[in-house]
Symmetry: C2
Subunit: 209 residues, 2 copies
DNA sequence: CGCATAAACTAGCGGCGTAAGTTTTTGCGC
DNA sequence: GCGCAAAAACTTACGCCGCTAGTTTATGCG
């Protein structure tokens, strides 16, 4: 086949297929040949639309952050904005856990990532936080959100009772994977509550830098 | 060369070389052939000592967590123990950032990882926290520590002023990479302070579950 | 109508993890 | 002291991988 009458590929179709593949089978399952097969095409054809594999993965990451709601800062208190944004971000990452390692490396050059940074940082600055404090708070929230999405805490424990025989306090740790969602959700909520309450106290006491 | 009079490889030598390579050039630079070359040996010889590449990487991760000080819980308040442990963990990860993605996936079956979980969880239980709350706090601390180590927040921003022209609040974001260490350190310290202070308040008010 | 461009193809390079089988040395049981 | 299994290196090779180069053909613009 040479050039078809109707293009078989578009950037959108490629990104969509890549996202589906990553969601379903993980980052490692995404290879150029595999992705091409999924799209009914030979491997190297993808290079007509993206220069490298990294560009495709980046586009998937960008599509994911695009789903985060950053309008929440519009007309509400910085505390509430921060909480709603964090929950939205967290929910998006929970829905697409396999792409998180890519996102965790920072906003990079992706427009939506930068727009999100702008929204968060801007809201904190507008509230009266110093530039350095706003930066710290933004970074901190990101640590909590990506950290919780990246390593499901509960999932890290093996489902094998014998493993914990030598650790008296962990004797029920093998039950953790079964409660994965509840544990991870509880830890995230606790962190969000404590962080925002603590920052709120600082703020109310006039400690804004 | 067949079997040499003196073994060329040991598990220790392999792990050490792998750790050095990962520290110096990143996870991607670690390939079986490259590692073998570094050790003056052919690639497949490594399989006489480790069954898979993943086992080698795991051993490196285990060697890194082994450096975290978990004796800090011995005879001090849970607050102080948590703070000292978190700082030690954070310092170790900061010294070996390239292995963090591996650690972030949880304690798994690694003895030192489990010993650390045991120490943290045990200290919280002994202090009177409920099992579920202790789990949440442990998970939460891990989110903060691995999250901060994984994605240097400041490093994620590109060192290119023009990139931020369209984001009014980010107009100085290109300066962030230069202050990388200070930003990341500040955010981590802020998080640690706020979290421990907040949890301490809950504790003092008798809210332990 | 002619031609540059776009979008598919095929072939192939060097690298990857690892399996299989070979050779030689070591060290233990008789 | 000897025989032989196990250990630890080797070579070869398979099927992936990301990506490059060059080819073919349809499209759309001047």
């Amino acid at each position: 086949m040479a050039r078809p009458r109707q293009a078989l590929l578009t950037r959108e179709r490629i990104v969509e297929a890549a996202a589906t593949l990553i969601d379903a089978e993980g980052l490692d399952a995404l290879s150029m040949r595999r992705l091409a097969t999924e799209l009914g095409v030979q491997g190297p054809s993808l290079y007509n639309h993206f220069a490298t594999k990294a560009e495709i993965v980046d586009a998937v990451a960008e599509a994911v952050v695009a789903q985060v709601d950053i309008d929440v800062f519009a007309d509400c208190d910085w505390r509430e904005g921060l909480r709603l944004w964090a929950k939205s971000y967290h929910a998006v990452l929970t829905a697409h856990p396999n792409i998180v390692p890519v996102l965790a490396t920072g906003p990079g050059r992706r427009p939506h990532g930068l727009a999100m940074a702008e929204a968060v940082y801007g809201a904190l600055i507008d509230a009266g936080w110093s530039r350095s404090r706003a930066t710290h708070i933004g970074a901190l929230m990101r640590y909590l959100i990506t950290g919780s999405a990246l390593g499901s805490f509960a999932l890290g424990f093996d489902n094998d009772p014998e493993l914990y025989d030598r650790y008296p306090h962990l004797h029920r740790a093998h039950e953790l994977p079964a409660h994965r969602a509840a544990v991870d959700e509880g830890a995230f909520e606790l962190g969000l509550d404590v962080l925002i309450a603590g920052l709120s106290d600082h703020y109310d006491q006039g400690v804004r830098r």
